[in-house]
């Protein structure tokens, strides 16, 4: 396991009780590093990620090539740095799109009448009744391979989760006593929704979106690994791993490092998401008091 993860484990053991700043700190640090990698990566990359140089094919990690080179002699470190710039934006687009669609449908279902709720929820059920990766696979096949079709396919399959979550959150708040109090005060319907119901209902949604960043990233790279997402020679982590898989035994580094980058990135967002959940989870807070 990499130094950072073992570092986190020992840091955790040293901490007692509910506050585990070291874990949160480490998570935040990794997340920041990753986002920086996406932004600055290409400038820092020691080599051109796409420069093919067959004489340097499959060189092990060295001073010259920290992460070694792949079957086409390209510098794995540079490609990994570029990869962040491909995967992260695509993930954020999926998250943003699916959140907007999901929250809209969930809120309308929660605030609308019984029929509206029933219809919208059945449509959501259809979305939920298929694993995102399978529906994305189908849509990618229909729309043709490529990162953009994977993003579209994933957005279409990811929003039902948010619709269901938003509906539950809004329904809980809709019947809260302070909303009844506002109704009796004569607060009009519009203000009731946008000033009382939605701010309170949706403020915990960002916990779920943060956690989902990791999950969506994995599915996008999965689609690329299968061959329907980012196409070769793109420096997308999933595609890179697929491209080098058959050299697994003799050039492990070409497969290991892109995967490790993907793992650390997803882990960072998972940790930050989990930390946000702990902060919002009443049961834990009560225990800690």
């Amino acid at each position: 396991m990499s130094a950072t993860t073992t570092g986190i484990a020992t840091g955790v053991a040293a901490r007692i009780r509910h506050r585990v700043p070291f874990v949160e700190g480490a998570a935040l640090a990794v997340a920041v590093v990753v986002v920086a990698m996406a932004a600055v990566g290409p400038l820092v990359a020691p080599h051109d990620p796409y420069a093919v140089n067959l004489t340097d094919a499959l060189l092990p990690p060295s001073a010259e090539h920290w992460f070694g080179t792949d079957a086409n002699g390209r510098d794995v470190l540079s490609r990994v740095l570029h990869g962040a710039r491909v995967t992260l934006p695509a993930t954020l687009v999926v998250i943003a799109a699916s959140t907007v669609i999901g929250v809209l449908i969930g809120t309308v279902a929660a605030l609308g009448g019984k029929v509206v709720d029933e219809v919208l929820m059945r449509i959501t059920d259809i979305g939920l009744s298929l694993p995102a990766i399978i529906l994305a696979l189908g849509l990618s096949a229909a729309l043709g391979p490529g990162l953009s079709s994977a993003v579209i396919a994933l957005s279409v399959t990811w929003w039902p989760g948010y619709a269901r979550l938003a509906r539950t959150l809004v329904r809980e708040v809709k019947d809260a006593e302070y909303v009844d109090a506002a109704r009796v005060l004569g607060v009009p319907q519009g203000r009731l929704i946008f000033r009382h119901i939605l701010p309170n209902a949706l403020n915990t949604l960002y916990v779920q979106t943060t956690v989902d960043v990791g999950a969506v990233m994995l599915v996008i790279s999965g689609l690329s690994f299968i061959g329907v997402g980012a196409q070769v020679p793109s420096a997308e982590w999933g595609a890179m791993i697929a491209g080098e898989a058959n050299n697994l035994t003799n050039a492990w580094w070409a497969v290991a490092f892109p995967g490790l980058a993907l793992l650390l990135t997803a882990l960072a967002f998972n940790l930050v998401g989990d930390w946000l959940r702990v902060r919002n989870d009443p049961t834990i807070r009560r225990e800690a008091r």
């Binding site: 053991a13 059920d125 259809i126 990766i133 189908g138 849509l139 793992l263």
Partner: protein
């Protein structure tokens, strides 16, 4: 209770209908000519025209949809381009080994996640809780396909402890009864083959289970926390019950109710993830079949897989409802009027 199941059946039918519509739309969204896609890339012009006529692609959308549904109900999912066999036959042949893999992964998932979640809740707030949470988050961050490759590299290639790929070692035979290699070996009484089949299952099952353990562990942990902070747990301790009995008999029984919903949903999601696992481990299955179909642009094979997985998903949810009824007595009564609820107070 009956009302609950009726509602579930109605929802299931609606969902399946929805699936059919979605998959039908997929055929229409196709860039270029749907007939060519159905006939295959290198089909001649005549073949394409024949397929176009057969599928009635020239008729208005609504008629096409009705025709599509008609074929669907008779189990005609079209013909696979690269296997030249009816898609339904292919899928039926491939499904069992994927189900075998999913069930193996589910066993690992439950065996790891439930104790982990329970332990994390029991040691809530202490270092052990944070460590348990970290392990589950690591699992959730694991790219499934990459984990498979890494496990292969370590256990199969270098340590040579476990087989690298496939369902069964070369030269071993298993009677084709259920299509699940390990089960067939067992039914055939061939223990050596059973051991071999299980050995082939270990790495892919771990790979498949890894990303699901986190969700289950977190659900068990939070519902266990709620249970452990409840009055009835404190009162159970106050009767002198041992901590083990309190946590397992009282805590876990309640914590499993929400967890069983998640596990039910995961059956479908796991079947979806076989797409990533089966190709890495060179196993036959619906996942590998779907991947090949996509890469061959064999649209009807892809749609067949999507539909079958959807059906499995719906069946899994119905099974979850049945498990819920068994686990949670309150549901048994809320369906209809509770039979013997005390309507009024015993006169004071």
């Amino acid at each position: 209770m009956a009302r609950l199941l009726l509602r579930r059946l109605v929802t299931s039918v609606v969902v399946l209908l929805g699936l059919a519509v979605v998959t039908f739309l997929m055929t229409q969204v196709l860039p270029g000519d749907p007939a060519r896609a159905a006939a295959g890339r290198n089909a001649t012009a005549e073949q394409v025209a024949a397929v176009a006529a057969r599928l009635g692609l020239d008729r208005p959308l609504w008629d096409q949809f009705l025709a599509y549904m008609g074929r669907l109900l008779q189990g005609d999912l079209g013909t696979s381009v690269f296997t030249q066999r009816p898609v339904l036959e292919d899928v039926a042949a491939m499904l069992p080994s994927s189900v075998e893999l999913v069930l193996a992964a589910m066993v690992i998932n439950i065996a790891v996640a439930v104790p982990l979640g329970t332990y994390a809740a029991w040691r809530n707030g202490r270092a052990a809780d944070a460590a348990a949470r970290l392990i589950t988050l690591l699992g959730a961050a694991m790219p499934v396909f990459w984990l498979g490759l890494m496990l292969q590299l370590l256990f199969a290639a270098q340590l040579r402890v476990l087989p690298l790929t496939g369902q069964l070692s070369f030269g071993k035979q298993v009677p084709a009864i259920t299509g699940m290699t390990s089960v067939d070996a067992l039914l055939g009484g061939d223990l050596a083959a059973f051991g071999d089949a299980v050995a082939h299952l270990v790495l892919p099952a771990i790979t498949l289970a890894a990303s699901f353990v986190a969700v289950v562990a977190r659900t068990v942990r939070s519902s266990m926390l709620t249970a452990l902070s409840s009055d009835y747990i404190q009162l159970a301790r106050a009767t002198g019950a041992s901590e083990l009995r309190v946590v397992v008999l009282h805590g876990l029984r309640n914590a499993l109710v929400p967890a069983s919903t998640i596990l039910g949903m995961q059956l479908g999601w796991m079947l979806g993830s076989t797409v990533l696992v089966e190709s890495v481990f060179g196993r036959t299955g619906i996942g590998a079949y779907a991947v090949t179909a996509v890469l061959q642009n064999d649209l009807y094979a892809v749609i067949g897989t999507v539909l079958v997985i959807g059906v499995v998903f719906v069946l899994a949810n119905i099974a979850v409802d049945l498990v819920q009824l068994w686990l949670n007595p309150r549901l048994r009564h809320t369906g209809g009027r509770a039979r013997r609820t005390a309507r009024t107070e015993v006169p004071a």
